[in-house]
């Protein structure tokens, strides 16, 4: 087996990043003439298998086991490790989801094989494969080579490949099996829950003024609220502002907050860590004010201002109000 894609369950449907991994595998197959198969597991394995079998893949491996019905990092890591041992894939692909961050490093340790995590692109030259990864808070990119023999564990960042690009086709189903016992699973998980939000719904907002660490201190937040009010915009923030307790968690945009796509997203003092960018890059117009010209947020800006938001924001508010 050349490529094995591990599909994540999202309440009975394939997690969006699983479809993106299928696109990635098809891209690799086209380039290198490799075979690609999919592994589905857990209590929804059957529905995931039927969904996966409608894509252009060789095989869908269906793994069912009582101890895999609910996710556990120990159970999933052990199961995937055993499948890798029996199927000997060269590349094992994952979407870089929260679940993958939780259990795939264990597989890396069990196999003593590299996990090239959070990659955004894959390249082949001659017989070498390299993966591109963001580093230093997305300010720089690096090309990374796995050393030594396969298997190589690879996860792709959200939206590195597009789920819509996954080619339809048909794949045959095959039962897979592993040997697990309950003593391997050291964690006991309760049902997932949502915190009572009572917060704002930013997903339908037309205009958003968003504030990041560059605001400096809590006392400066009202300045941003004044601007939002003058514009008739909602206010939101990046994670550091919420972590500091300057705004409640419900205002957070990004991978652990809300995903927004307003007509205008005005980013004030936000550096543009990927966890934030995934939540706002679909905005129609991104306007950035940041004093650091190297801030990665400028890469996705439609309009950029390198300057001190503490000087610009009050004057901008005043100018809007006086119109």
């Amino acid at each position: 087996m050349d490529i094995l894609i591990i599909i994540e369950d999202n309440n009975g449907k394939i997690h969006r990043m699983g479809l993106e991994s299928i696109t990635a595998a098809q891209h690799m197959s086209d380039k290198l003439g490799l075979s690609a198969s999919v592994l589905v597991m857990g209590k929804n394995a059957d529905s995931l298998a039927s969904e996966a079998s409608a894509y252009d893949m060789d095989e869908v491996l269906v793994l069912k086991h009582d101890l895999l019905n609910e996710y556990s990092s120990d159970g999933y890591a052990e199961a995937v490790t055993q499948i890798i041992d029996s199927e000997s894939p060269t590349y094992v692909l994952f979407g870089h989801s929260y679940q993958v961050r939780d259990y795939v490093p264990k597989i890396s340790a069990k196999l003593m094989q590299p996990f090239l995590a959070d990659s955004i692109a894959i390249h082949f030259d001659e017989n070498n494969v390299s993966l591109t990864k963001q580093m230093f808070n997305a300010k720089l990119l690096s090309d990374i080579n796995p050393n030594g023999d396969a298997p190589y564990l690879i996860s792709f960042q959200s939206a590195s490949f597009l789920s819509d690009d996954a080619k339809a086709g048909s794949a045959s189903l095959r039962e897979a099996s592993v040997t697990l016992d309950s003593s391997m699973i050291k964690t006991d998980s309760e049902e997932p829950f949502k915190e009572s939000s009572g917060g704002v719904d930013l997903t339908a907002a037309e205009l958003i003024v968003s504030v990041g660490r560059g605001i400096g201190k809590e006392e400066n937040i009202p300045m941003v609220q004044d601007l939002a009010e003058a514009l008739g915009a909602e206010i939101s923030s990046s994670r550091p502002v919420v972590d500091s307790g300057w705004l409640p968690p419900s205002y957070q945009v990004g991978s652990s907050g809300q995903a927004v796509s307003p007509k205008m997203y005005l980013a004030l003092g936000i550096s543009g860590a990927i966890q934030h960018v995934v939540g706002m890059k679909a905005s129609k117009n991104i306007v950035v004010i940041n004093k650091d010209p190297e801030a990665p947020i400028f890469e996705i800006a439609d309009y950029g201002i390198v300057g001190d938001l503490l000087e610009i924001v009050p004057k901008l508010t005043e100018a809007i109000q006086s119109k």
């Binding site: 890591a77 929260y98 961050r101 939780d102 490093p105 264990k106 890396s108 340790a109 069990k110 003593m112 590299p114 090239l116 959070d118 580093m135 230093f136 808070n137 997305a138 990119l141 690096s142 990374i144 080579n145 050393n147 030594g148 050291k186 964690t187 006991d188 998980s189 309760e190 049902e191 997932p192 829950f193 949502k194 915190e195 939000s197 994670r239 919420v242 972590d243 307790g245 991978s255 907050g257 007509k263 205008m264 117009n285 306007v287 650091d292 190297e294 400028f298 890469e299 996705i300 800006a301 439609d302 309009y303 950029g304 201002i305 390198v306 000087e311 610009i312 901008l316 100018a319 809007i320």
Partner: protein, 253 residues
């Protein structure tokens, strides 16, 4: 309760990041280093557990060259009891499997009940070290921890899931937990803490670094994929131009 905290020294958010001519690392002489952000929260979580139990030891463990002792001192001045510095000359491992193996080799005889780490480093950002280390030492593991509760020989962890969900996970000790930033409020060092830190032990170890399973071939600045209109001038000119963009380009009414 014996607790280890992994801390890493990384370039600060506003540090210059000049790339060396061989294009495989930074010119470290021009980099301004700080403690990795989420590691501050890992340290705070450990200190709070020690204080709540009124018993135990918090040991800060860091891997890196000489400069790393700055963040080790910072952790000691915030209240860690002692430190282990795994010193690497020149080649800092950029492979999390190698880094975690060095931690495992160093910590295996210490018999820690808990190991705390930040969820990922702000330089390489693999986000694997705490989990791999836990696995290598046969410990329970959990990631993206938002809060923790010590029970009888167990730890209960509130984990962050995607799309605003959380989940409580209980596991036996020993456990290696990597924490999400924002899970507590990290303290500042007191003057007394800073003075006291000078007397605390830093054990320096210099293990051999083994071959890496993955290596950085090239580091480079990204190409902007988007045409960005830069708005320049004095503050008044910028405000005037922005109003014009709002009105005529973005068409905010």
């Amino acid at each position: 309760m014996k607790i280890a905290v992994l801390v890493k020294q990384v370039p600060g958010a506003e540090s210059p990041l000049p790339i060396v001519s061989s294009q495989d690392w930074l010119d470290e002489s021009q980099v301004a280093y700080i403690m990795n952000e989420s590691d501050n929260y890992a340290l705070e979580e450990a200190l709070q557990i020690r204080e709540k139990n009124n018993d135990g030891e918090v040991v800060v463990v860091s891997l890196g060259p000489d400069r790393t002792q700055k963040v080790i001192r910072e952790a000691l001045s915030k209240g860690a009891d002692r430190a282990i510095h795994i010193q690497t000359e020149g080649n800092y491992p950029t492979d999390p499997l190698v880094g975690a193996s060095l931690f495992a080799e160093t910590l295996k005889d210490e018999s820690f009940d808990l190991i705390f780490s930040g969820l990922q480093s702000d330089d390489l950002g693999f986000g694997q070290t705490g989990v791999i280390l836990g696995e290598l030492l046969g410990m329970s593991t959990a990631t993206l921890a938002m809060s923790t509760e010590i029970l009888d020989n167990k730890i209960k962890v509130k984990r962050e899931l995607e799309a605003g969900y959380f989940q409580w996970v209980t596991m036996s000790l020993p456990a290696s937990i990597s924490v999400q930033s924002g899970c507590n409020t990290p303290r500042y060092p007191s003057l007394k803490g800073i003075m006291g830190a000078k007397k605390k032990e830093i054990k320096v170890l210099t293990p051999a670094v083994v071959d890496q399973n993955q290596s950085i071939k090239k580091i480079y600045a990204p190409n902007s994929s988007k045409e960005t209109v830069m708005v320049e001038g004095s503050v008044d000119q910028i405000v005037e131009k922005l109003l014009n963009i709002f009105r005529n380009e973005i068409k905010i009414t």
